[in-house]
Symmetry: C2
Subunit: 333 residues, 2 copies
């Protein structure tokens, strides 16, 4: 097999294209809802409207897990692209503007009919944790035809969010992209996204991890959910032989990275004030992959992830506000 040509894109992400509505709530409001505190619940259009009208004033901000990751990676100098579906409505215009303005290539044509651009109601409790309700909207229109073979072949890393296993067409799009990437000798990265998402798609995710994933991103509850165990160590022993690299984020306890036959303990970066944890995992992946595609060692990749995550939890919203590149050069001297 001839070695693949050098890619012109560092990270290509496939994900749900979502605009977040960020609101402050108290714990009683979360308790009264049929949702998993700290998790992501899928909601239908009608429920979305009813829930929205019960919430306080919001701030709107482009989101989407994998989209947040490529935006963060782009801010760290990575060459990035995104595949995901919006509708040609106002929120779709906002999503498109924001991801392109961050330097991410985004060419998926918007849906011209059907449901609106996806919206995620992000409810932030006083403990700074977020509970999310997502109306997938136009994201469910994503399908294999949206995956441009040339772009996948031209990307060093194909990054997939587990959430994309929910819309049926998107699953096919992911499988197609994975086949192309493997065939071209590129790395496949997967984020497990959410423990309840892992519950919904465990068999598929296990099969993916067994066969296709090179770099796996998860937090403690996601990886233990995947292997249906309470014990992180046991889950780590199950997963490490199967992938090249696995990163486990552990909130204020930092992260653990297993790869290259070694284990790295990454401390959390001190955040001045934790305001909203939305996007912490997405930005860890952003920093890690930006480092990885720059050829950095796993420890430094992890530290870049920790720096990017600390930035995004210091304010409302899942897109970085500060100059990530400057933060990384300050912290990784």
């Amino acid at each position: 097999m001839t070695p693949p040509a050098p890619p012109s894109i560092d990270i290509l992400a496939l994900g749900n294209a979502i605009v977040d509505v960020l609101t402050h709530v108290d714990d009683a409001q979360i308790d009264a809802l049929p949702v998993n505190k700290g998790g992501m619940t899928l909601i239908e259009s009608i429920t979305a409207a009813a829930l929205y009208s019960a919430l306080g004033p919001g701030l709107e901000c482009s989101g989407g897990s994998a989209a947040n990751t490529v935006v963060g990676a782009a801010m760290l100098g990575a060459r990035t692209a995104f595949i995901g579906r919006v509708k040609n409505d106002q929120l779709g215009g906002i999503f498109t503007h924001d991801i392109r303005a961050a330097g991410v290539r985004f060419d998926t044509p918007p849906a011209t009919d059907g449901t609106d651009t996806a919206m995620c109601l992000v409810m932030v409790t006083p403990d700074a944790h977020r509970t999310m309700c997502t109306h997938l909207g136009a994201s469910v229109e994503l399908g294999p035809d949206d995956v441009d073979e040339a772009v996948v072949r031209d990307s060093a890393v194909l990054y997939l969010e587990g959430y994309l296993w929910d819309p049926p067409g998107a699953k096919e799009a992911m499988r197609k992209a994975i086949r192309i990437a493997k065939d071209a000798g590129r790395a496949v990265a997967l984020s497990l996204s959410d423990p309840f998402c892992v519950d919904r798609h465990r068999a598929d995710f296990l099969e993916l991890v067994d066969n296709d994933v090179d770099i796996l991103f998860a937090n403690e509850s996601e990886i233990t959910s995947l292997y249906e165990t309470d014990d992180l160590d046991s889950a780590m022993h199950s997963v490490t032989p199967l992938v090249k690299v696995v990163t486990i984020t552990r909130s204020e306890h930092g992260a653990v990275i297993a790869g290259d036959g070694d284990m790295h303990i990454i401390p959390a970066e001190a955040a001045v004030q934790v305001v909203d944890t939305t996007g912490a995992g997405d930005l860890f992946a952003a920093g890690f992959l930006a480092g990885w595609t720059q050829g950095r060692n796993l420890h430094d990749c992890g530290r870049m992830g920790a720096v990017a995550a600390a930035e995004v939890i210091s304010h409302l919203g899942a897109r970085p506000e500060a100059d990530l590149r400057a933060l990384v050069s300050d912290h990784l001297k």
Copy 2:
């Protein structure tokens, strides 16, 4: 004349119904645009799209000057209502949700065709000052039929933003509302909004101040623009005989209030960090009017305005995030 029945609404505002797009820019970007730094420039639909595409990622937040004021006043316990026009699109839905969620009565039916809900591109420079470009959109559809006579008669204060003089139908709506309010013995309050807006409508504003306005809100550059003078003292001497109360906000120098034959010097409240001055004048008016409709003295009304303004400049966006009522009871012990 029989005295008016006690009103069931404290403050009814008429204003442009706008969603803000907040972005960080540097001074060079502002210098390159045909806009007034620190001011508000009206832009057409095409220009709006071109400017938007040249800006970085944004945060979306409901805005509109008079709308910000009634939201702030509602958070301080005032009974409030708002008249303004959105379209029945996604941004219109966001505006409607946010103002109602803040406790403001808002019943103006949305436009079902024509241009989109108004959008304001708010460009925040590193000095925390904001420069605004507004696409009036559906706001221009506001007209006298939207002014419900019973609601105006039932409101202690009719609050008008000078910006509303730009859309032609809105001007008629304002004149109708003023006639009803005066006839019912209610107070009419006007914000001069912006020195360039004063330039556009000086003759009308002078006539309003002469004949109809009871409470006038302005900053230094607006009041000096109105009387075409460089001297604040001279402008104050021109305006004080004409209105019951005039409040002049002076940024970090606080405010001056003339009324009841007396002059009050209100110090600025110390803001922890000035992040974005958007909404400072709107929230000063909110605090002032909330105090005024509670029967407080002019000094305390001014201090309530200063507290509300200090909150809104401590973060991005023109709607308060903190508990204004708690802040006021802390500061006005």
